[in-house]
């Protein structure tokens, strides 16, 4: 991991195309501004990591015998 120290107003350029700017610092909280192409999805780290973990757990390992129990359920429309 690359660690840099920045002051409010200073920025970091990633890959030539992504710019992270320190907008404000208040106590423990750092406000960051991120400029990136709209195709680049930006998420809070803990949220993203939770989804990754949940997706990995969800990869279907359930056996087909268990799936039979779902047969009774029909769409509620």
């Amino acid at each position: 991991m690359l660690a840099l120290t920045r002051k409010v107003g200073e920025s970091i350029v990633i890959g030539g195309n992504i710019v992270v700017t320190i907008v404000d610092i208040k106590g423990d909280n750092v406000r960051l501004g991120i400029d990136a192409a709209k195709e680049i999805k930006i998420y809070r780290g803990e949220i993203y990591n939770e989804i990754v973990a949940e997706n990995k757990l969800a990869v279907a390992s359930m056996d087909l015998h268990e799936m039979d129990k779902l047969k009774g359920i029909s769409k509620n429309k």
Partner: protein
């Protein structure tokens, strides 16, 4: 086209069931192509099978079969990329997780899969600032009875 699946063996899937995930899926960023396979006619459950990795299958569910008022906003950028609107609404599917008993199945309501069938394109969308759980228990009653809607 023929698809290899560890779960289903070698199966024939039609081109119309194929979805491109241009951003992959969190945890599986390289997986860009899946086929949506039905479980049973009239069942809200389906399988999302990777065309690249036979071991990679997700069970997904139509959330509205269980939670009629499931509701969230999709930001304009994503809506534009998927070309979805009131006139061209997306299909919503949510990944389901079963670790043991099927009665303990949970559904990820916080990160729905938004599908644009006319573009044959989909994305797992992380809802911002949501109170929806990523591990919502799907069954509040015994299997076999119609579960009541609710969060």
């Amino acid at each position: 086209m023929m698809v290899q699946s560890t779960r289903f063996g070698e199966i024939e899937v039609s081109e119309e069931t194929v979805l491109q995930f241009p951003y992959g899926i969190p945890g599986f960023l390289e997986e860009k192509t899946f086929s949506l396979l039905p479980h049973q006619p009239n069942s809200p459950f389906s399988f999302l099978q990777s065309l690249n990795d036979p071991d990679l299958t997700f069970i997904v569910v139509d959330p509205f079969a269980f939670i009629q008022d499931y509701d969230f906003e999709i930001d304009d950028e994503i809506a534009k990329e998927l070309d979805i609107s009131l006139e061209k609404p997306p299909q919503i599917l949510n990944i389901v997780k079963v670790l043991g008993k099927i009665e303990d199945m949970t559904v990820n309501l916080g990160a729905p899969i938004v599908v644009s069938w006319h573009k044959q394109m989909a994305i797992q969308y992380l809802i911002e600032n949501t109170t929806y759980s990523i591990r919502h228990p799907l069954f509040t009653q015994e299997l076999g009875q119609e579960p009541k809607g609710g969060k």
